[in-house]
């Protein structure tokens, strides 16, 4: 019985949250990696683009709520996502037309594009804050828990409860659908294949008659989908605050690089690597050992490798180690 409790404990405090957080990071990391692979620059506006998409989704959510629309036990925000994606795509295309296109046509070095993306970051941040303000916002409605800790305890008779939030399940399900569609698109359809070819070798792709304008446009549309959905899922699970979204850019970058930048599958797994290592290394294992070990060997301390304050530091340290030993990432991306 004790082992069962220990496993439930780990599931409740490590596995389920890490899986949800990892999915959110993974979507962001694929966004970064796509932009890097096809448009060839590190997009420092990642976090703020996600917050922009989320902001539009929130505005639509409020509008739907005022109309009395709802999805029952599901959050209304899911209904708002398609509309938010439309606006987000428009925003991305406008930015591309007025900002990035010029540098792409001039074949500017990636560093210059990265600098430009900082400009975009400032502008997007300003727009988001001017429209919706900098404060913390929760826009979740519907059923909060799928399984409550108490119910689980009653059901199974165990000491440890397993609470599963509906947002966690939504996050994981949406991620699976989104990512598998994306990989199907990239690997099976003609457009997807031409995108990969363009990312692999631009000149060769152009020679074989691939239209760069179309590729770029589709990339921005996919980026809009990823940014909006990733942002909304994070906001539903935690809360929406522009500053947090800006900070989330850092673990997302870490995930993309750890997985091998330019490689979408690597980025996908990188998100989980970062999330799991963050939570595994900062979790206090005291209770776990209390279940597993006999009473005489019970630990005194918290058995915590690192204090939770270092959550971010963990992912960045992993990144540094990966950069040192395998600069192209775990799943070989572009060679540095």
């Amino acid at each position: 019985m004790d082992f069962l409790n220990a496993i439930i404990l780990l599931l409740n405090y490590i596995f389920v949250p890490a899986l949800a957080y990892g999915s959110q990071l993974a979507i962001g990391a694929i966004f970064v990696t796509l932009i890097y692979g096809i448009l060839r620059f590190a997009n420092f506006a990642t976090g703020d683009m996600m917050s922009f998409g989320t902001m539009i989704a929130i505005l639509f959510t409020w509008y739907f709520q005022s109309l009395g629309l709802s999805l029952g036990f599901l959050p209304t925000a899911l209904l708002a996502i398609p509309f938010a994606i439309l606006f987000m795509g428009l925003y991305m295309l406008i930015i591309d037309k007025f900002v990035f296109k010029y540098y792409r046509l001039n074949k500017s070095p990636p560093v210059q594009l990265a600098m430009v993306s900082i400009g975009v970051m400032f502008v997007t941040q300003a727009v988001v804050r001017i429209i919706i303000g900098p404060s913390d916002r929760r826009f979740f409605d519907g059923e909060k828990f799928l399984i409550r800790a108490n119910e689980f305890k009653e059901m199974t008779g165990l000491n440890e409860g397993l609470a599963i939030k509906s947002t966690q399940v939504i996050t994981i399900v949406v991620t699976i659908i989104l990512v598998s569609t994306l990989f199907w698109f990239l690997n099976k359809t003609k457009t997807g294949k031409s995108m990969r070819a363009y990312s692999d070798n631009e000149d060769l792709a152009l020679l074989s008659g691939i239209d760069p304008k179309k590729i770029v446009m589709i990339t921005w549309m996919i980026a809009a989908i990823l940014a909006t959905i990733g942002g909304v899922l994070y906001g539903l699970d935690k809360s929406f605050k522009p500053f947090t979204y800006f900070n989330n850019m850092l673990p997302i970058f870490a995930a993309a690089i750890v997985g091998g930048i330019g490689n979408p599958f690597g980025a996908f797994l990188g998100g989980y690597v970062i999330a799991f290592s963050e939570i595994l290394l900062t979790y206090a294992y005291k209770k776990f050992f209390m279940y597993v070990l006999p009473e005489s060997m019970e630990p005194d301390g918290l058995i915590q490798l690192l204090s939770t304050d270092y959550k971010f530091a963990v992912s960045f340290s992993i990144l540094v180690i990966v950069l040192l030993y395998r600069p192209s990432g775990i799943f070989k991306g572009k060679i540095l």
């Binding site: 900082i118 400009g119 001017i130 870490a254």
Partner: protein, 456 residues
């Protein structure tokens, strides 16, 4: 003289703007803008050395600034004797252990060929070392943090005058830059940017949460000052006389004696804070001028030419026998050290150290906007960038408010759009920075004062 006309014009305009703020708002605000402009100028010089001279992207400016600030604390705060006796030995022991680990890793690296086993040995040394250090330091840290946690709860510093911390800050930041450079300088430009950005976050995380060293988010307040205190000044004879002399014209108009005394007091209070800020301005100006002379000399020296050669074509420079790796490391350390000085200056001016206030937007990206807008590769440009951008950053709110009032003049005061816009005036600075950066990148990619290298 003629070819420097644009430099002189740009600086005169800038000074004129600050003077206008002094006349229309207050001299206090003008001087505090000016002081922060000078500090920003030091930071941009550091970033400019790395980016403009050598083409290295350093997005870790925030980390180096914070280390400079930490230096100010560790140098100037009086040592906390109780804390040292409570946990000092443990901390010192951990310090020796860290040195031991580094030496052991170096030994392994030297002795054995590159192989998987070597990697495992190094990993084993580091992991076991960290565990031992944690075991050794934990009781010490606990003891230190328990010593009067409301006021101290940390080891304190050396109790030296705070000016020394400017040099110490340079060493701290330079040391960190050496380590980072060893690890990350081999990376391609945009990876280096991301890596330094993330490493600086790690530095901030450590400074924020190692309370025994920095007091963490509890902040260190009431640091020593290189300038006199306002309260003391207001009671000093010569200062009151000075203020009286300055304002003798205005004072002479007032005939009533008690009223005159009250007005004089008002002038003394205002004057004291202006005087203190002027002291800071003088100190900062000295630093800026010294650094400017040194960097200008370096720029036009053979070494500067070599750095530009490396920046413009690494392979060719390498083929000419220049040690690219070594020079990159050197310039990374030098630039970061300058940023460290700025960090120490900033904390000195504020008189308090708040680890929670170090945010990448303010301390990394804004500095980069300054460098790009001002003109990378040109020291005068970088300094000007620091001035212009900081000035706009502060004055963006009044300008934004004016613009909002202008555009919504037709609306009623209670109209929701107008109220909303006026509430969000503080965020116009982001908009201004972003649009400014984008415009400069597009239409004047070399900045306001572009780099100019005379080829003879």
């Amino acid at each position: 003289m003629r070819k420097n006309l644009n430099v002189i014009a740009a600086y005169s305009i800038m000074m004129g703007l600050i003077t206008l703020v002094g006349i229309f708002q207050s001299w206090n605000i003008a001087l505090s803008i000016f002081n922060l402009c000078l500090i920003s100028a030091v930071m941009t010089m550091g970033a400019n050395i790395q980016w403009g001279y050598a083409g290295l992207i350093n997005f870790g400016i925030m980390g180096f600034t914070a280390l400079g600030g930490l230096a100010a604390v560790l140098i100037s705060v009086n040592p906390v004797q109780e804390a040292w006796s409570a946990g000092g030995t443990n901390i010192l022991l951990s310090l020796f252990l860290i040195i031991g680990i580094v030496l052991a890793v170096r030994l392994v690296l030297k002795k054995y060929q590159k192989s998987k086993i070597r990697n495992y040995i190094i990993a084993a040394i580091i992991i076991s070392g960290i565990i031992i250090i944690r075991l050794v330091s934990a009781p010490g840290i606990e003891a230190i943090e328990e010593v009067n946690p409301a006021r101290t709860g940390f080891l304190g510093g050396l109790g030296l005058p705070i000016i020394f911390s400017w040099i110490a800050g340079a060493f701290f930041a330079g040391g960190l830059a050496f380590v980072i450079g060893k690890v990350a300088l081999g990376l391609r430009a945009d990876y280096l940017a991301i890596a330094t950005l993330l490493i600086s976050e790690i530095v901030i995380a450590i400074i924020k949460h190692e309370d025994w060293l920095t007091r963490g988010v509890k902040n260190v307040i009431g640091l020593k000052r290189p300038a006199p205190y306002e309260v003391n000044l207001q009671e000093t004879e010569w200062f009151i006389n000075l203020v009286e002399k300055f304002n003798s014209g205005k004072l002479a108009l007032i005939s009533d004696l008690s009223e005159r005394q009250a007005v004089l007091n008002q002038f003394v209070i205002e004057g004291s804070s202006v005087f203190v800020k002027l002291c800071y301005s003088g100190l900062f100006l000295i630093v800026v001028i010294i650094l400017l002379i040194l960097t200008q000399k370096a720029l036009y020296s053979p070494w500067g030419r070599m750095m530009r050669a490396i920046r413009d074509n690494e392979e060719a420079a390498n083929a000419m026998g220049k040690n690219v790796v070594k020079q990159h490391l050197l310039i990374f350390v030098l630039g970061s050290a300058i940023v460290g000085i700025a960090g120490a200056m900033l904390v000195t001016q504020d008189g308090l150290f708040t680890p929670g206030s170090y945010r990448p937007l303010r301390y990394t990206f804004l500095i980069w906007v300054m460098v790009i807008v001002g003109g990378s590769g040109n020291n005068f440009g970088a300094i000007l960038g620091g001035f212009v951008v900081w000035f706009l950053w502060i004055e963006a709110a009044p300008i934004g408010l004016y613009l909002v009032n202008l555009t919504t003049a037709g609306l009623e005061d209670t109209h929701f759009l107008k109220v909303h816009l006026i509430e969000s005036v503080p965020y116009f600075r982001f908009l201004m920075m972003g649009i400014g950066l984008l415009l400069i990148m597009r239409y004047r990619p070399k900045g306001i004062l572009p780099e100019k290298i005379e080829i003879k």
